[in-house]
């Protein structure tokens, strides 16, 4: 069922997650993340897929009282990103994230993309300019903005803003990029652009994407995981999940009978 010739980039091991109010949002999730592949997380609202995604870069640390159990191990160095001694900032330097709604900073286009470099104390203006250009090209935005890098990012369209956020995440050469429903606020054309971009990006890095859109999961991902009520119900390569799911619940969800 699962391709073993592709190297593992990360895997979650018996991952439990509890919100501050005591609610257990993830129940013993075990899932691999293969290098240079796109893994899609699908499932009905509240199933824990976003919660799971946000464990990877320790976003839950921002809100006091949240608790992890188990681990997410990165390869090849075998670092458990959830371990107590691991600095979440170090984790976020390796694993970047693109959010549901484009969230550019109140800065210029250039400064938005350069943000991660500034945060990493990069001082060399030349290096920053090169990285920004490279990232904007990587996010297929360079041609549209190269003449107005000093415009405010808010002046861009929604789809451009989302690609800017991808460029921002790309500029720091992350190993894994997390996408939390990246196209749910965008129109079909902008959505198609982002999907195409994701397919190109996987040559450079590993992608984990949460989506509510079945077609999107089928179009872009190599592997698909179906989650329900905090549990990983089924995992496999996307073709198998969408054509011959082994579980009844998965089939019902994918075909729209449920969810």
């Amino acid at each position: 069922m699962v391709n073993t010739s592709t190297p593992l980039k990360a895997e979650s091991k018996d991952l439990n997650f509890f919100y501050a109010n005591g609610h257990q949002a993830l129940k013993s999730v075990n899932m691999p993340l293969y290098e240079n592949k796109i893994t899609a997380l699908i499932g009905p609202s509240g199933c824990g897929k976003s919660t799971f995604l946000r464990c990877f870069n320790r976003m839950h640390d921002l809100y006091p009282g949240n608790k992890y159990e188990g681990g997410i191990v990165m390869h090849p160095d075998n670092t458990n990103v959830l371990a107590a001694g691991v600095d979440p900032i170090e984790v976020r330097m390796r694993i970047s994230m693109v959010f549901q709604k484009p969230n550019p900073f109140p800065k210029t286009i250039f400064e938005n993309v350069a943000y991660g470099l500034h945060v990493r104390d990069e001082k060399n203006k030349r290096v920053i300019a090169d990285k920004v250009e490279e990232a904007l090209k990587g996010a297929a935005l360079w041609d549209e903005v190269k003449d107005r890098l000093n415009d405010l990012a808010f002046n861009l369209s929604g789809g451009q803003q989302q690609r800017l956020c991808i460029a921002r995440a790309l500029a720091t050469d992350p190993e894994i990029m997390l996408f939390d429903e990246p196209t749910s606020a965008l129109d079909p054309i902008a959505t198609a652009n982002i999907e195409e971009l994701m397919s190109e990006l996987k040559n450079k890095l590993t992608i984990l994407v949460v989506t509510h859109n079945m077609q999107q999961a089928a179009r872009v991902s190599d592997y698909t995981a179906y989650m329900y009520l905090g549990e990983l119900m089924e995992y496999g390569d996307t073709d198998t999940i969408f054509t011959r799911p082994t579980r009844r619940e998965t089939e019902d969800y994918i075909t729209g009978k449920f969810g």
Binding site: N57, R92, S96, F99, F105, Y115
Partner: protein
């Protein structure tokens, strides 16, 4: 009520359903409520216009005796003396100097307090600290005035032995402390209004809490922070009791905070407390001074409005 019955009578000639009649009554009631609300809103507007009109009217009498040139270029303000001079600049200088000292204290402390409360303090600390801070606003300004005169000035005199008993430095410093809660409270609200998604974006890039606060949240809240500063400036320029008590009553053209000098407000208090006959030049002079104060505050408000528009939040 008359109109209502008339209206109903008018309509009863037509065959209307009881429901429609009820609608007419309801519409009439809505009109009345709308009118009352509008009158309430207009009362503030009307009061403002009345104040401006009286200021202009009384100042007009003043400027019949005193030329505008003397008013704006004269360096002495002695309308109550035998040898009367009517140069407003000493009072303006006093106002600007005390306000500047106050803002030099209040802007940094207020901003840092806002950043701390919004971005660093735990929920518990904020719940306790913010009400206490806002309590400072409730302290009567006369208390701040005597605090400046009787506590801060002697303290400052230990550092600068030559400092006069009435000085703008002490008044400005205390006024600054007094204004901190205004800035902190308004600026903190602006920062808290920055959407969490923006902070998450910054943290996700590997930024620390401090980097997020300084590089993302503060610029995003600029418009609100500027509004806080404008409020503080208006407060400082218009503040009366602290400067009247602690900065002295002597109009003096100086920008040196270690000297004592009267501000526009202090002069108005001083004259208003004496008994001057109406329509005398001394009486009219306080309206001219008030007009200048009004113009000064208006200028700052307009500047602030422009600045706010420029940095309007767009997220």
């Amino acid at each position: 009520m008359n109109t209502a019955t008339n209206m109903l009578n008018h309509f009863t000639t037509l065959p209307i359903s009881p429901r429609l009649a009820k609608n007419i009554r309801r519409n009439f009631k809505e009109r009345i409520i709308e009118l009352i609300l509008m009158l309430a809103a207009l009362s503030a507007v009307f009061t403002t216009f009345a104040i401006v009109a009286i200021l202009l009217y009384e100042s007009f009498g003043f400027f019949k005796t005193v030329s505008l040139i003397e008013f704006f270029t004269g360096t002495q303000w002695t309308p109550l003396f035998e040898d009367a001079h009517y140069g407003i600049m000493p009072l303006v200088a006093g106002t600007l100097t005390t306000s500047f000292v106050a803002l030099a204290v209040a802007v940094p402390i207020g901003t840092i307090t806002a950043i701390y409360l919004s971005e660093f303090a735990s929920h518990k600390v904020r719940e306790i600290a913010k009400p206490i801070l806002e309590l400072l606003v409730g302290v009567p300004t006369i208390a701040f005035g005597y605090f400046a005169l009787l506590f801060v000035t002697p303290l400052l005199q230990k550092i600068y032995p030559g400092l006069p008993g009435f000085n703008m430095l002490s008044a400005g410093l205390v006024m600054g402390v007094m204004i901190v809660p205004y800035i902190a409270s308004v600026a903190e609200d602006a920062m808290r209004a920055v959407p969490m998604s923006m902070r998450e974006g910054s943290y996700a890039m590997g930024a620390t809490r401090f980097q997020t606060a300084i590089r993302v949240v503060t610029p995003a809240a600029t418009s609100g922070i500027v509004a806080a500063y404008i409020l503080a400036i208006s407060r400082a320029v218009g503040e009366t009791m602290v400067v009247a008590v602690a900065a002295g009553q002597q109009p003096k053209l100086t920008f040196d905070p270690t000297e004592g000098a009267a501000t526009i407000t202090a002069y108005i208090v001083q004259v208003a407390m004496g008994d001057l006959p109406h329509a005398s030049i001394g009486y009219q002079s306080i309206f001219a001074a008030g007009l200048v104060l009004f113009a000064l505050t208006l200028c700052f408000n307009i500047l602030g409005h422009i600045a706010r528009k420029k940095y309007r939040e767009q997220y």
